[in-house]
């Protein structure tokens, strides 16, 4: 971590409690500019809470967070136009159509109406939603909604992207296309990305590093994932097993699923 060019996201001794409950005990890590880091962990580990802290919707009890050299909670407006979030749930506004939802971020950022529409349509096409642009939210399937939500986040062309397992509700083929697309965009444009996932295979395929959290957002493992390990079946299996072990053993079903998806 010392040789990273510039820390885009930096957490130092972050602690967050909800009443008596300690959601994040004492977390420190950083994400370099252009780096993609996967957050893994069983349900309730505190992944979404960490993401909420980093995006500035929650306030830390103690410790500090810097995102693009700003405090995401206190310097709320400083990150305008620089971050985008794809949430765990789609959070589409029901009174807006698919394209109207996709262009929301652009409109908030002050992009002209026609230009916002053009870019939103472009993104809907990229997530394979051509033909569904004018449908209202209740007319879309769960997977389609998730894709609109992703388009809404990516359309603002942010420097930093936060993703909360947006792919997990999609079918394998769509998830794979989106993953590839997402990876390409992130790499190509040098996006910094922190993304939450349950699926080990997703993490290995996309991330530069994987951060595995256990209860209280304690770091169980921090793995650097290299191209070599992705291409070497033996290393891949070993990596997968290390992550699964750190998570406290994946569910049998999940594991099989992950292996299948992980093998090239």
């Amino acid at each position: 971590m010392t040789n990273t060019p510039h820390a885009m996201i930096e957490l130092k001794n972050v602690r967050k409690t909800f009443g008596e409950f300690i959601a994040v005990e004492d977390l420190s890590f950083s994400v370099a500019e252009g780096e993609i880091v996967a957050l893994l962990g069983r349900t309730g580990a505190g992944k979404s809470t960490v993401l909420n802290l980093v995006m500035g919707t929650l306030r830390v009890d103690s410790g500090s967070i810097r995102v693009a050299d700003a405090d995401p909670y206190h310097d709320f407006r400083a990150l305008r136009g620089r971050i985008a979030v794809s949430f765990q749930t789609d959070r589409l506004l029901p009174w807006r159509t698919a394209v109207e939802n996709a262009e929301l971020g652009l409109l908030i950022l002050g992009v002209k109406k026609a230009e916002a529409r053009r870019r939103a349509l472009d993104w809907l096409a990229r997530v394979k939603l051509t033909g569904a642009e004018d449908k209202y939210v209740h007319e879309l399937s769960g997977g389609m909604r998730q894709r609109v939500s992703l388009a809404r986040a990516l359309a603002v062309d942010p420097k930093i992207i936060f993703l909360d397992e947006s792919f997990s509700q999609l079918d394998h083929v769509t998830a794979k296309t989106l993953r590839t697309d997402f990876l390409r965009i992130a790499k190509e444009y040098g996006k910094t990305c922190l993304f939450v996932t349950h699926r080990i295979a997703d993490a290995i395929e996309i991330a530069d590093r994987a951060l595995i959290l256990t209860k209280g957002a304690r770091i169980a493992l921090l793995e650097t994932i290299t191209e070599e390990s992705r291409n070497d079946a033996g290393a891949l299996t070993a990596l997968h097993d290390r992550i699964a072990a750190a998570m406290g053993g994946a569910d049998d079903d999940d594991e099989e699923d992950d292996r299948e998806a992980a093998t090239p």
Partner: protein, 279 residues
């Protein structure tokens, strides 16, 4: 006569947030059944009136045909009074709506003022409409001011309370999503809060409109020389019971028409809502 009627006219239930977002669309057969039932009731009423009018003097129960005659006459000669009442109603409803949105909005966003505003509104809703009417006569000379005042103090709290409820029901998830783009306050209002409370405003309008027109007529009876209420008062004092019936008939029709009008507007404005089939 007015005192008793005013007290027994119960105001609509102020808050029905459970209904928001889940409009009931009665199945076609249900709608048809309703229509048939209404027709039967109307026919029975007409027949009963016809029979009664044969046995009692005209000033107690007029024959249905006489009422129809009077209605035609009213529509021909008293159109202005209908328009006056409707205009008063429209002005008061629109004003109460906007003022209610502002007050409800302040209640929903400024924590410090909420208890005070809520206390004012709760007390206001507890004051009988008749008290407001009498007070208005003392306070204001001008008939239009009186009626505007009466209708506003009656209608405004419904809008304010429902808008407040609406803002409270705004999902936290939506707020976080919109805020992730770092919007201005105005943008939060424009993209999130206003569209979210539109259904609450329609719900309020739909539930108060019938009450509002009855109150408008009462207010006119107490405070004005023109409008449907004053005409009804005149008909009563000149023993034209057929006209009282005719006005009543027109008011019922007017109420239906207003409800249908608001319903149609709502359908257009809220076309994004899924139609829930309720079995």
């Amino acid at each position: 006569m007015t005192a008793g009627s005013v007290k027994t006219t119960s105001p609509p239930v102020p808050v029905a947030s459970g209904m928001i977002g889940r409009p009931r669309k009665p199945a076609n057969t249900e709608a048809r059944r309703d229509l048939i039932a209404t027709t039967i009731v109307v026919v029975v009423m007409i027949v009963a009136m016809q029979i009664a009018s044969a046995y009692v003097p005209d000033y107690i129960m007029p024959a249905p045909l006489n009422v129809l005659e009077s209605t035609k006459e009213l529509l021909l000669n008293d159109k202005t009074h209908i328009f006056v009442t409707l205009a008063r109603l429209a002005v008061a409803v629109v004003f109460s709506m906007f003022a209610g949105i502002i007050i409800g909005g302040i209640m929903g966003t400024v924590g410090a003022l909420r208890p005070i505003l809520r206390a004012v509104i709760i007390i206001d809703t507890g004051i009988p409409a008749l008290s407001w009417m009498l007070v208005a006569v003392f306070w204001f000379r001008d008939a239009e001011t009186r009626i505007f005042f009466i209708l506003t103090v009656i209608l405004l709290p419904f809008y304010a309370l429902n808008v407040y409820e609406g803002i409270r029901a705004l999902p936290r998830d939506f707020v976080d999503m919109v805020e992730s783009f770092r919007p201005t306050r105005w943008q939060v209002l424009r993209y999130l809060i206003i569209p979210h409370i539109v259904p609450y405003i329609f719900l309020t309008t739909r539930s108060v409109i019938g009450y509002a027109i009855r109150m408008a007529v009462f207010a006119e009876l107490v405070a004005s020389a023109i409008g449907i209420g004053s005409r009804m008062s005149l008909a009563q004092s000149t023993f034209h019971i057929d006209r009282v019936f005719a006005w009543t008939f027109l008011l019922v029709i007017l109420n239906f028409a207003l409800q249908a009008g608001v319903g149609a507007l709502e359908k257009i404005a809220l076309k994004w809502r899924p139609e829930v089939e309720v079995r």
